[in-house]
């Protein structure tokens, strides 16, 4: 078959090759240009934000949003920082997200140990219930939670937000970790049991060191997700002392003193932590995910 068709098709290929390659050469630059155009459209709001965060208001009204500022104007940033007490807001966000990341990962590990390694009866039910909880709209639990917090004196407390997010995040973490631990090599567990290690010792001395990369990934996810949350912190953290970064920015909206540089500087410093955090841990994320799946 191959020998038969080869001589027939060879000349036609030779004929069309230079022509096709030339056309392809043009096409590939058009495709690249289109892809870059989409990228520029996606990035343009960030560029506009950067330009106008450091542009004097007079220049904005004169030259518009696209002009390069003649000098760096930092009053908008200062204005936003002092008005929101941004240092405190940063600390609030770090504190809430950090505690949730650690506690949520710990709770996920305990649950997943019982489900993935203990193979507790009814585990399929438990995991499905946790997954279902992940899909629930937060509105369906918010008012009873709000009511409960008021009754136990945790209204306007960061601890109520921490407790709620620890449970919500660990619902997802349990699902993920349980499937990872479900494939844990039984030989390791048996060897440890033969050495006389109890369940608690096996968890910390055998299981924990091996799934540590996966736990690191979970912690990073929980931190970012909690950092970005809006609805529950909006309802629970009513005083300015307890608010997180996104709430602080949103609550200044419509304020008469929020001029263009203040708004843009506020948006800039509010998204920087998330961006920096993502850049730092990007490598850990890809490494951790593969480490977990290979095991």
């Amino acid at each position: 078959m191959a020998t038969l068709t080869a001589p027939v098709s060879a000349p036609s290929v030779q004929q069309s090759r230079p022509d096709r390659r030339h056309r392809r050469g043009a096409v590939r630059w058009v495709v690249l240009a289109l892809a870059i155009l989409v990228a520029l459209a996606m990035l343009s709001p960030f560029v506009i934000m950067l330009l106008n965060a450091v542009k004097p208001p007079a220049e904005y009204s004169q030259n518009g949003p696209l002009s390069i500022p003649t000098h760096i104007y930092l009053d908008g940033l200062k204005n936003f920082w002092t008005r929101t007490d941004f240092t405190l807001k940063l600390w609030n966000s770090v504190f809430i997200s950090g505690v949730v990341a650690v506690a949520g990962t710990g709770l996920s590990l305990l649950n997943a140990y019982a489900i993935g390694i203990g193979r507790v009866k009814g585990r399929l039910w438990i995991v499905s219930l946790f997954l279902l909880a992940n899909m629930l709209p937060q509105e369906a639990i918010i008012y009873p939670l709000f009511d409960m917090a008021q009754k136990v004196g945790l209204s306007d407390s960061q601890w109520s937000v921490i407790i709620i997010f620890t449970v919500i995040q660990s619902a997802f973490g349990t699902y993920l970790l349980a499937s990872v631990l479900g494939t844990f090599p039984p030989a390791l567990l048996e060897a440890a049991a033969l050495d006389g290690a109890g369940r608690w010792r096996i968890l910390w001395r055998v299981v924990f060191p091996i799934v540590r990369p996966t736990l690191a990934v979970l912690m990073i996810f929980f931190f970012i997700w909690t950092w970005n949350e809006f609805f529950i912190p909006l309802v629970f953290l009513t005083s300015t002392d307890t608010q997180t970064v996104p709430i602080a920015l949103a609550s200044l909206q419509g304020d008469r003193l929020m001029d263009v540089p203040t708004t843009n500087a506020g948006a800039l410093v509010s998204l920087l932590p998330a961006l920096v955090f993502f850049l730092i841990f990007q490598r850990t994320l890809t490494r951790g995910v593969t480490a977990g799946s290979v095991k």
Partner: protein, 314 residues
Amino acid sequence: MTSSSSTTVVRPRRRPARWVGYLPYLIPGVVAFVLVIGYPLVTNVYISFYSWRGGDTPLRWVGLGNYQALLHDTAFWTSFRNSVAMIVAMVIVPTAIGLVLAAVLFDYIGRKFGGRAAAVLRASYYLPQILPVAVAGVLWNWILNAETGALNVILKGFGVTDPPNWLGSTSLALPSVMLVLIWVQIGYPVVIFMSALQRVDPELYEAAELDGAGWARRFRAITIPQIRPETFVVVLTCTVAALKVFAPIYVLTRGGPESSTLVPSYYSYLNFFDKSKVGYGAAVATVLTLVIVVVAGIILGLQSRAERRERENR
């Protein structure tokens, strides 16, 4: 059966099953889960049968009254109609564009210009996904502001005398919100689909190319069927997110003007904390929960049917 009876002969007392010893590890998780999700969820349904102004005020039983009122509430129906618009903006458009972008980056730009070019482009598509969505909303709220916003100032610079009020007019607010959500959402399918494409055997593409299949044909015949599992995951997670969307609406329009961008989650929030109609808000939240569970069930059902059909065809 026989083995268990033989062990009882050897050991008179039956030992409890191995898994029972692991139950203590489940206690903190289950207690916390019941307290923070289970109990409040049930209580919310309970509240929805009452008329209640919240706090210490008395609860008055109204049975299905709140639900009956919902049937005649135009704002309620508007909010769910807008949910369809949210699904278009957060699921359908991003998934379709994401498929094309991922395939172009992976199978065209990645091969013709190298992986680095593809990675840089992918990162720039993904950037809006990283920041808090409320922050993105505040930024866009300013850009689209009728008076001082960047877009209208630019338009005025081009000589447009009366630029539109993007978020302030009943006809434009919803499309504007949808555009912002598309911008926020697009990076997610691109990243998921690109990692899915890495799973696909490159020989499939090479064979198709040797057979003379063009890019469009390879996209239809190989890319789409090969990454169907990931497409289902993206559609499911984004649909649930679209039905739950709250923060972008809160910072962009607060459901206005005249309820033109109202969504169910924001409507229940309004009833809970603004109008003090707690029972009514609970009914809205309960309906939303049911809709999400049913829609998710339908998508999961379609997925398992597609998988079954694929297995039969093989």
